[in-house]
């Protein structure tokens, strides 16, 4: 069996060969292992040495988040420290739409944890549309402690949903100051663009709100404060773990107003069921003591974003509560225009106080008859009497003598027909008619021409005349202040909350009327006469101080020739507006005011008592008794 002896030898040789082959392969494998580990080592070197700086920065950026710290908005108080706007802290449940995949489902699930009403959903939808889903949007505000605890226990289920402590604005006086203090609201795109243009965006990081109307808007710069910065360490869920450094925010400054909250309330309530406006000014400074536009609205509705139902209710109300009547409502001044006309005549030398006319009860101008309110006329009338009894014929004639441009030049000096520069935005200019105004206002040449007949009714405050209550108040305050006109302003001073440093809004004399003191004295005497023996006498009977005033009635709908105005026959919305301008005490005026009561009727009956209530409180501290039902008055009260 030779094979037997050969085979083992072959097998051994083969086995050794196989083992050799195997060991070669193993060596190859080991080299490959070393090569692969070298690749890893190179990769580690690349990441940990070459790219270390960059990746270290990324890790830090991961870790550190710069969080703005929103400053407290300054508060707003009246002259006596009554709070008109302040902040309170509350917890809100907020969603970052960018971090939530299915918004509807998340909100549905959240509703199982905290109460989320239909109103909250509507408001959230509106916020989503306004913000285009950027930032953190509140789905619920003012969470209760129990709701906070319930959400905290379920927080892991809701990535992108957080509870935040936020400061909320509150207006404790509600609708009383809605048109003066205004309100804040969420920053919209237009405001954001504006902030960007003014390079103020950085200071609004983290801030969702900005002043929208009233003082909140015009004093935004002072109220907002300076945003602080906090460096916090966050985890991968974006939740703050600890604070690394902090630059505290600087609170906004407080506003202290000239307004008297109690006076404002008395004035507001004095309107009773009527709509209207009242502006009261301190003649010596231009400080605004009361600023009423009725009806108002609850500004608190706007703070966390108004829901669509409330919004359309406010917007569609026939009473138009959103209109700031004192600032942007323009009305014909009616007979309150007459003392200004008289002063214009004296200043221009067109009349002396003693000059009289004989009033037959009408004025015939080129075949057109302008009626006096009193049938048969007032008889012999001088300037004093023309104001006291409110004689129309006297002013028809005077208007014709002064001419439209003579009238408009003087009224312009009184501030009528142009913005007064009040420290609240949105002022309307009104219309001070003149030839130039008409040329600009109309397109067709026959409309652009001023007809002399149009001047006649201008003389009694009708026609194109249209002024805001602020303008009328500023004008009567100017008379009260012997012709020196101050810019009306609502804020007394801005107070730095830390240093207590006060920056007053300085009284700013705009101009002095180019008229002699004795001329103004004549007008003042006549205005005192109105409240003593004229159209205002009934309203001011037994006042306990001497006051000056002038009634006015502004037509809403022109009467047809020969038609007599009978209040009860005219539809409510077409009834006349009642006006009254006044100041007191007559010898050293502390307060001047203008009142307009929309669609009520005669100024003497409806507007003068409101003025009386305001003056009574301001001068005597008298709080009015609850209103009594009114009875029909005699014709002699008409102006």
């Amino acid at each position: 069996m030779p094979e037997l002896s050969i085979n083992p030898g072959v097998e051994i040789r083969n086995a050794q060969l196989e083992l050799h082959h195997f060991r070669v392969r193993l060596a190859v494998a080991f080299v490959l292992v070393l090569a692969m580990f070298a690749v890893l080592a190179v990769r580690f070197f690349y990441l940990q040495v070459v790219r270390h700086g960059e990746l270290h920065t990324l890790a830090e950026a991961n870790r550190i988040s710069i969080v703005p710290v929103v400053p407290n908005r300054g508060i707003i108080v009246d002259r006596n420290g009554t709070v008109l706007a302040h902040n309170y802290s509350a917890y809100t449940l907020e969603i970052q739409p960018g971090k939530v995949a299915d918004l509807e489902r998340t909100i549905d699930e959240l509703a199982g944890v905290v109460e989320i009403g239909a109103r909250d959903r509507r408001r959230f939808k509106r916020l989503m549309e306004e913000s285009k889903g950027i930032g953190s949007l509140p789905i619920r505000t003012r969470l209760s402690d129990e709701e906070i605890a319930r959400f905290a226990a379920n927080r892991y289920r809701f990535p992108g949903v957080e509870i935040n402590a936020r400061l909320f604005r509150q207006y404790p006086q509600g609708e009383l100051f809605s048109h003066v203090v205004g309100h804040i609201g969420r920053i919209n795109q237009k405001e954001l663009d504006q902030l960007e243009a003014e390079d103020r965006v950085a200071n609004y990081r983290g801030t969702d709100y900005i002043g929208k109307t009233g003082l909140e808007q015009s004093y935004e710069l002072a109220l907002h404060g300076t945003t602080g910065v906090e460096e916090v360490e966050v985890d991968s869920g974006g939740r703050a773990v600890r604070t690394l450094s902090r630059t505290p925010p600087v609170s906004g400054n407080n506003l202290v107003l000239k307004l008297d909250a109690r006076l404002q309330e008395i004035a507001y309530n004095a309107f009773g069921k009527y709509r209207g406006a009242l502006v009261a000014i301190e003649p010596a400074t231009g400080g605004v003591l009361a600023f009423v536009s009725k009806p108002g609205f609850d500004p608190n509705l706007f703070v966390d974003g108004i829901d669509p139902t409330n919004w359309s209710e406010l917007n569609n109300s026939p009473d138009r509560p959103m209109v700031n009547r004192a600032l942007a409502g323009t009305y014909p001044p009616g007979s309150t225009f007459k003392p200004f006309m008289a002063l214009a005549a004296l200043t221009a030398g067109k009349r002396t106080p003693q000059q009289t006319i004989s009033d037959p009860g009408f004025f015939n101008f080129g075949g057109h008859v302008f009626r006096d309110d009193k049938v048969g006329g007032h008889g012999v009338v001088d300037m004093y009497r023309s104001i006291v009894v409110s004689c129309d014929t006297y002013y028809y004639v005077l208007a014709n003598d002064l001419g439209i441009d003579g009238i408009s030049r003087f009224m312009g000096l009184l501030g009528l027909g142009s913005v007064t520069g009040l420290d609240v935005k949105g002022e309307a200019a009104g219309v001070l008619p003149s030839q130039a105004w008409k040329r600009q206002r109309f397109k067709r040449p026959e409309q652009q021409k001023w007809y002399a007949g149009e001047t006649i009714s201008i003389g009694i405050g009708q026609g194109y005349n249209s002024y805001t209550p602020v303008q009328l108040a500023a004008a009567i305050a100017t008379i009260a202040n012997d012709g020196v006109m101050f810019r009306p302003h609502i804020v007394n001073y801005v107070e730095d909350i830390r240093t207590r440093e006060r920056s007053p809004v300085e009284p700013n004399p705009l101009r002095t009327l180019p008229t002699k003191p004795e001329h103004i004295a004549v007008i003042k005497q006549a205005l005192i006469g109105v409240n003593k023996e004229g159209t205002g006498a009934r309203a001011f009977a037994g006042a306990g101080y001497v006051s000056a005033g002038k009634t006015g009635t502004a037509q809403v709908v022109a009467l047809k020739a020969g038609e007599k105005y009978v209040e009860s026959r005219v539809q409510e919305r077409h009834r006349d507006h009642a006006l009254f301008i006044a100041y007191a005490p007559a010898d050293a005026p502390k307060i001047a005011l203008a009142v307009i009561v929309e669609n009520s009727g005669f100024g003497a009956r409806y507007a003068a008592p409101i003025a009386r209530a305001v003056l009574d409180y301001y001068l005597l501290g008298k709080v009015p008794a609850p209103p009594k039902p009114e009875k029909e008055e005699a014709d002699d009260l008409r102006d």
């Binding site: 060991r23 392969r25 990324l58 991961n62 985890d235």
Partner: protein, 367 residues
């Protein structure tokens, strides 16, 4: 010392390979240290892992004491059982996380693909050993089929990571058994050529993982998030690391699965390049010792098995660190001996035990 006790000690340790045990224990110590940090100092996690380590060491000791020829007898039955279980999974398996990987067996549920990680190289080594004298091309083909049947079943589950790792261990057996270089080259070319086909067979999430590897920033909050964050963690560690317990990426929760598959990111962030090199050397020590044992193994079966175990160990380590450092796609492979989890630890130590058994029983045969 009492000679009886000494003799007992000698009996207990006679099949333990000192160098391998030293390297394994060192890696386990590193693992426990990192786990303490990665779990935010969770005593519960660490104690569980210490229990796992004890079980794994016991398993290692048991397998070290099994002579390789006993394993050889177990190889085929284990393999057949494994394939049957995989078929069972395909038919009655339980779906979890979109994959059918688990099978209910009485009181517990098992993942048969785990078993195949050792059963496949074992069976292939047995097969080559059985036909050692008459090896022809056809044998390689049969061996390849032994590999492809379970891999095909696992791919279908789908579990790409496990099937690739089993393929690798099977390939190591084929390679060490002397598969011709020409065929290896041909397979490589065929593999490259069939890439488009393979691509079309992949699931969407698998494709996304591969694409993400090429450019993680494509999907920073989705599939790329793991890679971006772990790369940042590794890189921000620098040369010396941020120090134990000081990794911000880790402790602020930016690293996902930071106690298991991504534990290397934690280690790397806290111990830096220096720590990484130490770790690579420890792994290399295990691999080198495994290679020496392989080279000196007495039979073809022992050689192929030892080689496959060693190279598979390397593959685990390489794939995991490559994945964490962003050069390999994210596949669910734990870092051997470091990652938290009993299954991986026990199966690795089982392999280490087999290596020790191969190393020590040879000596006994010789003496």
């Amino acid at each position: 010392m009492n000679p009886a006790i000494r003799r007992l000690g000698g009996h207990l340790t006679q099949h333990v390979d000192g160098m391998l045990l030293g390297a394994v224990l060192a890696l386990m110590a590193v693992g426990i240290t990192v786990l303490f940090s990665a779990s935010n100092a969770s005593v519960a996690r660490v104690s569980t892992q210490l229990m796992n380590i004890l079980i794994a060491l016991a398993t290692m000791w048991v397998f070290a004491n099994i002579p390789p020829q006993h394993l050889r007898r177990l190889a085929l039955p284990l393999y057949i059982l494994g394939v049957l279980l995989l078929v069972g999974v395909a038919l009655f398996g339980e779906i979890a996380n979109g994959a059918r990987r688990w099978l209910h067996v009485g009181i517990t549920r098992i993942q048969p693909s785990e078993l195949m990680k050792i059963a496949v190289p074992l069976a292939m080594a047995w097969y080559f050993d059985r036909y050692e004298a008459t090896l022809r091309l056809g044998n390689y083909f049969v061996a390849a089929m032994m590999l492809l049947i379970p891999v095909g079943l696992i791919v279908r589950q789908p579990d790409l990571g496990t099937s690739l790792l089993i393929s690798a261990s099977g390939f190591f057996v084929l390679f060490l058994a002397g598969l011709s270089w020409r065929i290896i080259g041909g397979l490589a070319l065929a593999g490259i050529a069939s890439l488009p086909l393979a691509w079309s067979l992949l699931h969407d999430y698998q494709r996304r993982r591969l694409l993400t590897l090429l450019d993680p920033s494509q999907d920073p909050l989705g599939a790329g998030y793991h890679t971006i964050q772990s790369t940042i963690a590794v890189g921000s560690g620098g040369v010396l690391g941020k120090g134990w317990l000081n990794g911000t990426q880790t402790h602020l929760d930016f690293i996902p699965e930071r106690t298991t598959d991504f534990i290397f990111a934690v280690y790397s962030e806290e111990f830096g390049l220096f720590g990484n090199v130490v770790l690579l050397l420890l792994f290399l020590l295990v691999i080198a010792r495994g290679m020496v044992i392989t080279a000196n193994a007495p039979t073809l079966f022992a050689r192929l098995l030892a080689g496959a175990i060693t190279l598979t160990f390397f593959t685990y380590a390489f794939v995991n660190m490559g994945m964490v450092s962003g050069i390999l796609p994210v596949v669910g492979v734990p870092l051997p001996l470091i990652s938290y989890g009993g299954t991986s630890l026990v199966s690795i130590c089982l392999g280490m035990g087999i290596l020790m058994g191969i190393a020590t029983h040879k000596k006994l045969v010789q003496t």
